[in-house]
């Protein structure tokens, strides 16, 4: 599903990823870990074409991201659900509208998208905040809205960047259960995190990054 072949990414003078080669298969759930600034977010950004690789070859689904056209990018992104590290909620829209957005972008009508949105918000335990605006939510609530938005359109790939950084242990467990279930239904899931509690004893592959280099892949 996702194939990095010697991919490097350099921001101005900062080398963020160095010759990364890895493959994530369809239906896998994997973790990316490493200390702050190791390149986890950059790796995810490459997958959804927010950044372009400076070297190497990167294939996501049917798209070769070194040669992807402007017209194809929205199509690529519609097969991916993303939990951004900084949430990226739209402050001027209600929680309902925020979560509905990926469905609207896919052309669903009000009537068709309603149930999906409600289901998704119920999963993250925020059905009661449907009318609230993001700035009036607590940090953890915002993070859960971001998660609901990422899963609502049942994407082929789910990228979650530090998805539990603002969540208490209980909520963290609930979210991880959701990710596992979505994965069981066939979605490829990539979770970037530095919380070892998430991946220890998970039985999944964990990619370890250190200063932009892939230093190891372990099943923990």
């Amino acid at each position: 599903m996702i194939h990095f072949e010697g991919v490097s990414k350099i921001y101005e003078k900062q080398l963020a990823l160095k010759e990364i080669t890895l493959s994530i298969e369809k239906g896998e759930l994997v973790f990316v870990t490493g200390p702050s600034g190791a390149g986890k977010t950059t790796l995810l950004k490459l997958i959804y074409a927010h950044e372009r690789p400076d070297k190497g070859r990167l294939v996501v689904g049917d798209y070769d991201l070194s040669v992807i056209t402007q017209k194809e990018i929205p199509l690529l992104r519609r097969m991916i659900g993303i939990v951004f590290q900084d949430f990226r909620l739209i402050d001027t829209k209600t929680v309902f509208e925020n979560v509905a957005m990926p469905l609207r972008i896919r052309g669903l009508s009000d009537r068709d998208l309603k149930d999906f949105v409600f289901d998704s918000l119920r999963l993250v335990n925020l059905r009661h905040k449907i009318e609230a605006y993001p700035p009036t939510l607590s940090g953890g609530e915002q993070q859960r809205v971001a998660i609901a938005r990422a899963i609502v359109a049942e994407p082929q790939i789910l990228l979650a960047d530090e998805p539990t950084g603002n969540l208490d242990p209980e909520n963290t467990k609930a979210i991880m259960d959701i990710f596992k279930e979505i994965n069981a239904r066939g979605t490829t899931v990539v979770i970037a995190t530095h919380n070892p509690d998430l991946y220890t004893h998970s039985g999944r592959r964990v990619f370890k990054l250190q200063e932009g280099s892939l230093t190891g892949v372990e099943v923990l």
Binding site: I82, R88, I105, D110, R149
Partner: protein, 293 residues
């Protein structure tokens, strides 16, 4: 992409920042209003000066004893000339009568004359196209060369000032319009740029969620056109107010009746909101710029 949603989105966001949008619409309205009154003023001045040359007259003084058929031939020739609007023979007798009238109380001066000392003359009125100075000069030279024409009187000064007025009105009118229009375009641009700055983050997020360019632009374009239409209505309203003021004024000052807008009012009520909408859409389009993923 559901158009219904784009509309809802646009109107929600119009409502959300109601006052900034009201200000934007008012600002656009003032701009459109200025353009409107400028074009009206320009148009009226232009149509006034267009009529001026008709009032410009050339007098041919004929030599004594010019045969009547020569005079008739001259008149027909003149009437066939495209520069000439009318040509009229003024006999020496009617000229004398006119002079008497003009001298009024002092007409006793000419009362006692035995013989009429005045010549026959032909009064030529020029059509409005004949303003071109060089052409006119040629025409007058030609007239002078006619053997039985004694003298040509054509008010050189008057003609020069007419040409000048026309040029001045045209040049400064166009310059003024250009300046005001520039101002309006800038104004629209900055106004819509506000909408853009307010939503820069949102647009970025939409792109990351896989929205197409159309999906992102639609609400902006709708919003821009709504503001533009509102601005157009404001301008129409101001224009209507102005006609009322003019109506009141023109009763006391018949002078300004020439700037009457009333007959065009209906077309402005359509044109102004329409061009407001166009400007709004164009401004929104420009201020969003190209959407690059």
């Amino acid at each position: 992409m559901s158009t219904g949603y784009s509309f809802r989105f646009a109107f929600e966001s119009l409502k959300k920042d109601f006052w900034i949008n009201v200000i934007a619409a008012l600002s656009a309205g003032v701009g459109l209003f200025l353009v409107a009154i400028l074009s009206i003023t320009f148009y009226s001045i232009n149509s006034v000066t267009k009529k001026l040359p008709e009032k410009f007259t050339i007098i041919l003084y004929l030599k004594d004893n010019t045969p009547a058929d020569e005079i008739n031939k001259l008149l027909t020739d003149l009437k066939n000339n495209s520069m000439v609007k009318s040509a009229r023979l003024i006999t020496k007798d009617s000229a004398l009568n006119e002079l008497k009238k003009r001298l009024k109380d002092s007409s006793f001066l000419v009362e006692g004359l035995d013989e009429n000392p005045l010549p026959d003359s032909v009064e030529i009125r020029l059509s409005s196209e004949a303003v071109e100075k060089a052409l006119l000069k040629d025409f007058i030279k030609e007239l002078r060369s006619i053997s039985y024409v004694d003298d040509v009187d054509y008010g050189e000064e008057l003609m020069e000032s007419i040409v000048m007025i026309k040029k001045t009105v045209e040049t400064s009118g166009i310059a003024f319009m250009a300046v005001i229009l520039t101002g309006i375009v800038f104004n629209f641009y900055t106004t819509i740029k506000i909408l853009f700055y307010r939503r820069k983050e949102e647009i970025e997020t939409f792109k990351l969620l896989g929205a197409s360019g159309g999906f992102i632009r639609a609400p902006f374009l709708i919003e821009g056109s709504a503001i533009g239409i509102a601005g157009g209505l404001v301008a129409s309203f101001m224009l209507f107010g102005l006609t009322q003021v003019f109506g009141l004024l023109s009763q006391r000052l018949p002078f300004i009746a020439s700037l009457n807008i009333q007959p065009y009012m209906l077309s402005f009520l359509i044109i102004l909101p329409l061009s407001g909408a166009l400007l709004g859409v164009a401004g929104a389009f420009l201020s969003i710029g190209r959407i690059r993923y």
